[in-house]
Subunit: 214 residues, 4 copies
């Protein structure tokens, strides 16, 4: 199971969460990555944790003021990137371009989608992984694996019909080891989580509980 902690724009200390994640990853052998804002990438990567970007632009070098290029996040230490998170939905052509840019920069990719048909769609673009996150469950604390287990199974099926080599992650409301175990049992090969760790009083304890479900 791959555990990807999205720090969003939360008022957490990104370095503290990164250090907690690095410790839990080392202690348990679980793959845990942390995705901070672009401006925090260098500081997070310096902790040694696997570092991901939350988004990259699909453009190449050039006159693109205010963009975050795949090559720049790689310079800052990122080894992967989310694309099309429900809080940063992209045009279809931009998902495609972002995947090409990430690939050129050597970044691994997880493309998010809201529902099984959209999971099928993004799988057709050739990402490394896809993730299903029903927007209505994000931030609720109710895990998708419990609130809507069918959506996880259908997402796995939808991806599989297009390309059965693309792992499916799930997210929304995941915070405990039970949630993670339930996600795995539904066919998910990893989880996206955010507030459950980033807003926890003790992020390391929250992560230890989570990975206990593996």
């Amino acid at each position: 199971m791959f555990v990807l902690v999205n720090l969003k724009a939360y008022p957490c200390d990104p370095v503290a969460v990164a250090e907690a994640a690095a410790t839990v990853a080392d202690d348990t052998g679980t793959r845990v990555a942390v995705a901070p804002q672009a401006a925090h990438l260098s500081a997070v990567a310096a902790t040694g944790v696997e570092t991901w970007a939350q988004h990259v632009s699909g453009v190449d070098h050039g006159s693109h003021t205010g963009s975050t290029l795949a090559s720049a996040v790689a310079d800052a230490g990122a080894v992967g990137t989310l694309l099309n998170h429900s809080e940063r939905r992209l045009r279809l052509a931009a998902i495609d371009a972002g995947l090409r840019a990430a690939e050129d920069a050597g970044l691994e990719t997880v493309v998010c989608a809201n529902n099984p048909p959209q999971v099928g769609a993004v799988t057709a673009l050739g990402p490394d992984m896809v993730a299903v996150e029903p927007p209505e469950l994000i931030g609720t604390g109710t895990p998708v694996s419990q609130a809507d287990p069918d959506v996880v199974e259908e997402a796995v099926a939808a991806a599989g019909r297009v390309d059965d080599d693309v792992p499916v992650l799930c997210g929304a409301g995941i915070s405990t080891g039970d949630d993670l175990a339930a996600a795995r049992d539904l066919g998910s090969e990893g989880v996206l989580l955010a507030s459950g760790v980033a807003k926890a009083d003790d992020p390391e304890a929250a992560l230890r509980d989570l990975v206990s479900g593996i």
Copy 2:
């Protein structure tokens, strides 16, 4: 073969083009539709031609000032809509929502895409038809079927891998009967065209030449 004439925002007389299209459709038995701007839909539909929208929003009734709802274009006489044209690229979630809204309003759908992977992606969302239009060839007068025949065949293959019941149209640079015949021979079941008819001195003659390729 389905011939869909996109009037874009050209300075043509939409009613004159619609009347020409209606005449050619009646005389030849070819399916020809015309897609004007939303504000011109009623006038175009009044000619009796098959009328399509260029875009619909994916939202439902509500507080959405400045939107064009599927139900509103249906009220105005449209029976179908384009979605995700390269000049109106949409977020993946908006293509999905637009398809649902169009379906609810009884509209037929053509979802456009720039390249074969994107054609595969949009096919997974369940449209009635898909169309491949390489952006770099739009408006060039060089038909996609001649400039880049592989892209048409690959688009047909990409759609077929996801769902082989979804017809593939092609567009970009199509204007003559030869272009249309070439598109058909590459597996396309219709064409999108725009300037070749909308900017022609004699739109009816341009359409007659085009459908002679069938």
Copy 3:
């Protein structure tokens, strides 16, 4: 006082509201206009009511699939357009371009803004009128003139500091004659309203009550 009824994407019958507005305008001598979706403009204009668009694109004729040009809404019978409604916020450059396009097409303009500083900003672009609509009050039924009278007075002052010839309208929660009278007393020269008329059981009665405040 100018009364502009924005039908948004409500599930109302736009022609019935337009007929009610035309009747009240004729009977009372009040200036009342109706702004339907672009696809409904022709049908609304055919009632004889003063017809406005909810939005126009700032682009000129050309390859702009899915756009609504100022010239097209004028073709359909519109004599004015809203720009930058809080449900269709525009880039600053697009407000500027939309104003130029509207002017070229002979359309009158009302540019909306969320707060007094933004009212000052849009006044600098040379619109015919500006409107302040605090987004948090839209659709609440609580009139801005009562919930936040200072915002109306400050908006009038902010516009006046830039150009004191530009009338200021206000909107959000306006529905009764008392609301309209209060808006006028705060310096507003008109009102934007939507649900109070468009969702009323009897739009004509709602409008008669509203204009009684003048």
Copy 4:
């Protein structure tokens, strides 16, 4: 004169340009700042140069995956930010929100605009500085101060009519000391430049030539 070097998404070494800028600023006493991509901010700030962001989002802490918050760029060492660059045009409400967010994070602000009316508009929002950059001259190598001197004088006048305490910078095509001197003589209190330094074989020499115009 304030010299702000925008690195855009150019394939330059941001640290090398930053070191050159720091050296020239120290040697000449000129205020020179460098604005890299968000992911490069920490590395640029570590050189000691005055560091600016190219863009910040107007949102506050929360569920905003893929955003760049003002507080995050400040964490990374930025002391100011551009907003509304013509390559990252913002909705009017987002410029306003970005200014509030920047102010809360202690960042200085330069809001860009395409023409004098837009300069007047953004001045009404209360930025620290404004900048006029005619988009058609960006990247041309033809300085705005020579190609279109009126636009600089009119921008200074437009800002002054709204608030005469807001300094006006200019940009587009600026690269030499003569360009800078001409900009100053037209009323500009600084310059934005990009390719003239970022793409120079010797950025330090390019900057020395530029500041020789002061």
